[in-house]
Subunit: 111 residues, 2 copies
DNA sequence: CGCTAATATTAGCGTAATCTAATATTAAAT
DNA sequence: ATTTAATATTAGATTACGCTAATATTAGCG
């Protein structure tokens, strides 16, 4: 499943935006999403599962709670995909910045 | 229309990947997409229109041909969206690189 | 142990997205 | 002026997706 297929849904993006700020319980996620989209707990839970299955989020149990965290790996794929377009908005990147960017990218694939 | 909604389709991504390498006629796009997805000219043309309407591509006429080009602005939105996650994979960005990144982002919104 | 709270799952429905098939448009070529 | 090539458009069918409603699971509490 391509990363963009997962991100092509506003509810899932909303969840990830929340998780970008740190770990949150399923209940927290439901509350936030419900306020913004007015959908049921069930629907949110289903989206959380999709994010889990696709590797965008991880869970750990805390009693009866489930604590979700963002998993950055899949989002890096998006970043990598964008690389082919960066030349468009960075037409004259100075040498130093190029080195930094290149180093970042290399590291990414070594890890 | 959110940028991710547009990118959440494999055919549209395929088209943009091609346009990332430079301008191409509608016919070129059709040929490439057809080889990969086996869909009709009509379907490709419809996707080209979606990309145009959403601002991901631009067209100019050349006789009876339509020459398409990638438009980077909307893709930057994706880059911006990712900013909130970069902390995950760049936990200890050195000061210089941080400056470069910050400058880039500032410029982005000034233009 | 029974109850409640937190979350997940399943089945089925409705809608939106995308495809095909057919047709329209436009420009050049003969 | 026809005809052909390149592309776009429209209408309708099909599929895929996300939602609700109902139900299941699991942990803690009294």
């Amino acid at each position: 499943m391509h990363a963009f297929d997962i991100l092509g849904d506003p509810v899932r993006r909303c969840i990830l935006e929340l998780l970008a700020t740190g770990e949150h319980s399923s209940g927290d996620v439901v509350a936030v999403v419900q306020r913004e989209f007015g959908i049921t707990q069930s629907a949110v839970s289903q989206q959380l599962r999709i994010l889990r299955d696709a590797g965008f989020a991880s869970v750990r149990a805390d009693g009866t709670r489930r604590i979700y965290a963002a998993e950055p790996a899949r989002l890096r794929e998006v970043d990598d995909w964008l690389d082919r377009f960066r030349a468009f908005w960075l037409p004259r990147l100075d040498a130093l910045a190029t080195e930094v960017a290149r180093g970042k990218r290399k590291r990414r694939h070594r890890e």
